[in-house]
Symmetry: C2
Subunit: 490 residues, 2 copies
Amino acid sequence: MEPLGKVFEVEWELDEDELNRGERNRSSSSSNGSFSEEESTRNGELSPSEDYISSTVTLDAVREKPPHQMKQSSSSPEVVEMLKETFSKLLLGEDMSGGEKGVSAALAVSNAITDLSAATFGKVCRLEPLPSEKKLTWKRGMEWLLSVSDYIVELTPSLHTFPDGTKREVMTSRPRQDLYVSLPALLKLDNMIIEVLDGLEHTEFWYVDQEGVLATQSPPPKEKWWLPVPRVPTCGLSGKARKQLQQIRTCTNQILKAAMAINCCTLDDMEVPESYLETLSKNGYTSLEEFINGYNFSDQFSPESLLDCLNLSSQRRALEIADQLEASIHIWCQKTNSKNSKLSWEMVKELVVDADKREVFAYRAESLLTCLRLRFPGLPQTMLHMSKIQHNKDLGKSILESYSRAVQSLAFNIVARIDDLLHVDDLTKPSDPFMSKSQKSPRKALTDYLAIDSKGDHASDDLEGPDSRSAVYQELIVTADELNTFYSCI
Amino acid sequence: MEPLGKVFEVEWELDEDELNRGERNRSSSSSNGSFSEEESTRNGELSPSEDYISSTVTLDAVREKPPHQMKQSSSSPEVVEMLKETFSKLLLGEDMSGGEKGVSAALAVSNAITDLSAATFGKVCRLEPLPSEKKLTWKRGMEWLLSVSDYIVELTPSLHTFPDGTKREVMTSRPRQDLYVSLPALLKLDNMIIEVLDGLEHTEFWYVDQEGVLATQSPPPKEKWWLPVPRVPTCGLSGKARKQLQQIRTCTNQILKAAMAINCCTLDDMEVPESYLETLSKNGYTSLEEFINGYNFSDQFSPESLLDCLNLSSQRRALEIADQLEASIHIWCQKTNSKNSKLSWEMVKELVVDADKREVFAYRAESLLTCLRLRFPGLPQTMLHMSKIQHNKDLGKSILESYSRAVQSLAFNIVARIDDLLHVDDLTKPSDPFMSKSQKSPRKALTDYLAIDSKGDHASDDLEGPDSRSAVYQELIVTADELNTFYSCI
């Protein structure tokens, strides 16, 4: 599998020089996100090409525009009023009665990004370019919300030469490290995924609403009833079109992995809220203890085989287990945390396990959780993550988390739609005598395995056995090495 | 004395119809605050007139402009960037490291208004029009900060007629009552005070820096060294100019009273923070008890005479007493407050005074505090007020409090500068044989009595006896009746 770093280096043409420049103009990060009407029109006129990445407008081309020209359309009096409204509501923390009961600014920004993403991409049910108004709203809204990050700085000592020639160490401000590293990457991922959608016009496939599909043509729709049905020509997609779709799928999958990695790192970086630790009640712990004891943490521990033994018949059950695993990791890990030493000590006494064993248990629970996440990449947020997002007061982390979550969700949906389409194409094509049995078997669509979508609540709870999912999602695994390469490249 | 309501009705031409209109367009309140460059230039060209109020641009004239024209200059890309910067910093709560240690949005807005006011009016040491750039910065900054209030609403039940003719009670949102009443009044006061300054060009008086004043001409400056010295023609100001100055003083004094009233009401409306009640330590209370016992709260209680007995030699001492009085009022009043019943009960036991006596004590402390405030209208914020502002989470109250404080401070400074000027004029004029002794005696400047100014810290601590101050400030008293008339008029 191609490492993530390679992808950034070769395919995405990330401008390393610019990113590594010492005193980068921070305002460019928000400018990257801006999007003029003129550009959106130009994108709409692009002819489809096999190499869709090179044919679309690159980020650097956007950067070359003078700032005034970039923002001409975004500074009309009406837009200024919208900008004031957006920021006023953020300041009020969504409490229109005056802000007394409002949420923190960090949560307000996080919710605003989530809402904007849902309003823009919530209905991406077809593989087709986004309407230009939606693109404009998304880019403009994100430019406003991301502008907060331009003023988040950290102070570092640096040598300054005074007019008389003496050198002294003075504190200078520079963009905060996490934002400096991850925000340009997210902007790039965001631009790429919009370009992926832009490249999907004049296609060989089309969609029909489920109401238009006769019961005789296909089995009556039970699941994913809200999605339109993809249709391909009677002889299936051409080789060229299928190759292009597979290229898009690979690229979107890499975007998904990168966004997931940033989201994961940001969430790990957020402090575990006191209130979460307080809710780790003895009851919850006991049920986990039973579960762990029931499956015997022997020396030959294999998270995959343990997961196979678990009842993972529904997404809800998987989420419950993920919650319990996270709770157990925190209980086992908080030995060194003096603040919670009392709680930890009592629990340790009850368990009568020594420190070494607890470490092993925590490590095993963590690997079990990693495996669970890989089997269910569309798993809703766990209690811990929700608690972290809710109690986080840092606007920088809030922006990174919600932005990466938005990109991740969009990428996930696009991959699922491509899989649906390829599945329909496989079913349409006449059997090929030269194709081996394994190659001929229709490819299961992503959502068939998971029953997860943007409207995940309506998804069926009945899933196939975990083995098939495990095989399909093997390609989604982001190894530690890959993550390191990814960050060293940025 | 002319009641406040009358002043609003006759002199200030407050558009009652517009203010009382049921579904007023809230956005007009922020539009009132906007100020185009064109207007500021026009104001600068106005010829001085005896009736300066009617000669300047009225608020209604500003309102009549189409919104687009009003904001043409305030929507350039540079201004939009400034707007984003302002709001981003408010969201970060002044913590540029990410907002984790930032202040609440309400306090951030309050501080922003205070800072903007200090930057604009902090150096109003001369009676002359404000530079147009300063006016523009103030108006634009306030328009941005006040725009938050456009989205603060309250829900009220109202009858709604449905298409089928049935009438149902539904909840509708409308601007919050306190903002709906006080914000237009503050905008009017703000516009008026800027107009007061605008009317002060081509005057008969001028200023010289204190460095330019020779020791032979006047005693060497000791106090208020930062203020330029006003100069009048050798024969003094003309009757017309003096009359105009006195008119301006009367008007500014009314603005001061109105702004003080709004500030006072808003502060009263803010909840007393728990942390303040917790700091009401026994020590503080004991010293107050001594002070009260020392001056014997007899049946013939007179706050004026009690104040005369107190050591009010310095502003700091007056502030200490104000703090103690506020603390005592809260201790005596919290009988009915169940949350603090324990604290109150213990103190009641210690004092061995019954409920009736406590009520009388609280009432007396309150009247004493009112008298103290009237003697020292420029008194810095008390502990209670600072605590309220710091812990307040309501953006509407925060805006009203800081905006009224800014207008109040500017009005106070202008009155002080006029008094300084009239004092110099009195000293310059040759003695008039027809003038009675009392009329001839030079009028003491406001700052001479109080030694309070925008740079109050440098003021002398030695003051004259309280009697003279009491007489001078009698005109500043806002009676309860006046306040009622004022609010009923709005």
